[in-house]
Every structure is written in C-alpha cells, then in structure tokens.
C-alpha cells in the first residue's frame, strides 16, 4: 500500500515537473515580446513605452513573483535607491486627505487624459482600512488598526512611508504598485496616506 502511494507520488511529481519543464522550455521570450507588439500597433510612443519592463518587472514576471535569494537581494537594493523623502523630514500629512486618496481610483487610464483630478491611491481596492468602508478588496492584507498595532512608532511610520513609496524593498515582487518610484502619487499624497494609517485620530485606528 505504502509502496503504491510512494509510486503514485513519484509519478505525480514527475508529471508536475514535466508540465513545468514543457512550459518553460517552449516559451521563447522573444516570441512573447514580438506578440506583445501586435497588441498596440496604433499607440503613440508614450503609451508604447508603458509596455517596457525594467529589470525588477522582468525578474518578477519571469519568476512568477518568486525571485531567488540573489534576485530578491538585488531587487531590494535597486528599489531602495529610488526612495525619496520629504525635504522637511515630516512623514505624516492629513489623514482626511489620505482617506480621499484611499477611496479614489482615478488616474493614468487612457480615459483619464487630459487629467481632470489628481491620481488616487485606490487603497480600498485591495485593502480593508477604516471600519466604516465595507467595500474593500482582499488582494492585499487588511490594514485596520495599522498604527495602533504598531504603537504609532516613528520606525513603523518610516517603514510605512517606504512601503507606499516602493513596496518592493520590503516585499520584492509584491503585487502592490510602486506609488512613489513610478510617479503615481506625489510625496505629499503619500504623507497623507501615511497619516490615514498612522494618525491616532484616523478612523483606521478607531
């Protein structure tokens, strides 16, 4: 009986490996990139450029978001170098403005040009934040009581600012956008979102 299950497990493992091997061996990266170009023949250069990948995105795509130890370290270093801090050294802004940004999914779609509003952070699309907002997504972890759970500490505030600015430093190949490094949000907007999570008066911490 035991022998059979071992044999079955071995067979399954081999089948699994074969499937993986088939896929990775067969996909020619050049073919994928050539196919990609067929998708947007009429786009202008600015929009075509959006299809280009930097080194981090290349590695994350190729490894299906599971970088090796070395790749992990390289992403961490590279992305850390892109973080810029507020000139006045203050990492927290206004949580009320932060809540508006967390609600807003506006910005950077082809229907958003020319821009009518500032870009949003759209935090609720993926995260639970304040208790009152029931319409929240679950792609990211729930962030209710974020500051409270961290004793509103200065270290946690700095770590959070960096996570919003570029989450790949703490979590290489995360699903979360690089809001600061990719120019989605301004430093002031990021400060307001930091306040939404870290201000003791914010509904997130109530």
């Amino acid at each position: 009986m035991r022998k059979i299950s071992v044999a079955v497990a071995a067979a399954l493992a081999i089948a699994g490996l074969t499937t993986l091997a088939d896929t990775s061996a067969a996909v020619d990266a050049a073919k994928v990139e050539a196919t990609l170009k067929t998708g947007w023949p009429n786009s202008n250069d600015e929009w075509k450029k959006r299809l280009d990948q930097d080194e981090t995105m290349k590695v994350c795509s190729a490894t299906r978001n599971n970088p090796s130890k070395e790749q992990f370290k390289a992403i961490e270093m590279r992305e850390k170098a892109t973080i810029k801090y507020p000139e006045d050294g203050k990492l927290m802004g206004d949580w009320k403005a932060g809540e508006k940004l967390a609600q807003s999914g506006y910005g950077m779609r082809f229907t958003d040009y020319p821009p009518k509003n500032p870009n949003g952070g759209n935090c609720y699309a993926c995260h639970q934040l304040s208790q009152a907002e029931l319409s929240y997504g679950t792609i990211g972890p729930p962030l209710r009581h974020y500051g409270k759970q961290r004793d509103f500490s200065a270290e946690a505030t700095k770590a959070l600012y960096e996570k919003i600015y570029n989450p790949h430093v703490a979590h290489p190949c995360t699903n979360m956008p690089r809001f600061g490094s990719n120019g989605i949000l301004t430093i002031d907007q990021i400060k307001n979102i930091v306040a939404l999570l870290m201000d003791p008066e914010s509904p997130v911490n109530k």
Binding site: T23, A26, V27, A29, K31, V32, T35, L36, T38, G39, W40, P41, N42, S43, W47, K48, R50, L51, D52, Q53, M57, C60, S61, R64, N65, M108, R109, F110, T111, Y124, A125, C126, Q128, Q131, L134, S135, Y136, G137, T138, I139, P142, R144, N175, P177, R178, N182, G183, I184
Partner: protein
Amino acid sequence: MAIGRMLGALALGLVAAASLTPVSDRAVAQDQTEKELEKFRAMLKADPFANPGLLDADRGEALWKAPKGEAKVSLEKCDLGKGPGVVDGAFAELPRYFKDVDRVMDAETRILWCMEKLQGFNAAEFKKKPHPGGGAPVKDVGAIATYVASKSDGKKFNAPVSHPKEKEAVEVGEALFFRRQGPFDFACATCHMDPGKRIRLQGLPSLSAPAEAKRVVGEWPAYRISNTHVMTMQHRLLDCYWQMRIDKLDFGSDVSIALTAYMVNNAKGGDIAAPGLKR
C-alpha cells in the same frame, strides 16, 4: 425588473451585513459580506431567461443570416472551424488554427474576418471603435459572437491544441498573463491568480487555475449589468488592460487571441454557459 430587484436585495443585504456585524470582528464582517455577495450571485443565475444578453444573441442570429454587402450574401458560408456555415458547437472549439489565414483566431476575430471577406465589410474602420460605450448595445460583431457562443451553450470547451501555432498561442498567452507592465506594474495575474480574492466587493476568478477557469470562462460573452450591455471577451481583455493603465488593446490582435487561447485551454472540459450574466 428582475435585475432591479436583485440589486435592491444586494444593497439591503449589505446594509444588513453591516448592522449585524460585531464591531470588533473583522473575520465575521468578511464572512457576512461574502454570504450576501453569494446570494447576489445565486440570484443572477436563478432565472436564465432574465438575461438581456439573449436579445443580443437573437440579434446576432438575424445578422448572421441576413444578406449584406455588395454581393448580398449572408455569413452562412463563414467557416468557424467546423466547415462553412456550421455554428453548432463551433465556439466550443475556438480559438483554433485557420489554414486560410495561417493564424489562430478566436470567435470574434474570425467573424470579423468573414464579414470582410464575404460581405466586403470595412474591418479597419470597425476596429477604430469595436466596443460599445456604456449604455449602448454590443456592436454587430459582438452580437454575432454572442449568437455563435450561445450555439455552444451546454457544450464543453474543447479548443484544439494540436497545430504548432495553437500550442504557441497557449504558451505565449500564459507568458503574457504573468507579464507585468505599465506604471502600476500590473499583470493579468495580479488580480487573477490567487483564488478567493476581491477587488472592492467584486470577486476575482483565478484564471490560471483550471477549476475556476472552467467555472467562469464559458460565461463570456456576458451581459454586464453595470454596463447595461453584452461585453465580449475581446472587450473584456481591453478593459483589463485599461485597468492596468495600458492603451486600447487592438481588436483581434495576437495578444488578445493568445490570452483567450490560454484561458480557454485552462477551461478545457468546462461548460459553456453563454451569454452569461454578470454584476
């Protein structure tokens, strides 16, 4: 009417979920919300004839059979892969390789190609605005695709992956599914890989997992209540890239066909239930 009632019930359900939820228990809140959403999803499927998409399937059938263009011919000579004029079961075997064009095509791309070849339809002009705006009905090509899909309703997906170009489409589609790009670094996989996730209140199918792909891919084209029209797979893919902050995906491009081939291959053996009815 039925749809209005459903949306009303959903709204009430969410309010009920909110007021019944213990303030401190996040897990319970999550659970209640999921339960109410599940009720809404079940209501959408309760009466199959409440689906307005069926009207577009009927419209598509009339368009398929109507003589058009200078030659005054219908599309009844169009070969969707099972021989000229065979509509029954054709959608279940698409995308597939077509020798006459030496490429893989999905239903919509093939229909447009037939309209151009048989009826002299201006495909280039059509591709400038292939999808309806909010509130407008699905365009004729989409209506025909809805009809074609409905003629495979109840059948199982069985698109061929034997020709090298069919294999290549599936493999390239898979790579594109995981390829991250744009200012938000998004891939299709960002939202559609892990099972059981939501964006706001909208459930996200895990399209890389055969079990879930089998359950949902066959529901497209689908009537989207929030858009009040039928949305085809070509339109749905454009919408995904729109969310990824990428430009308008070209109708019938190899990107759209490869991604469709990948999803349909994951859904192999899954039931076709088209047109579906979506939130």
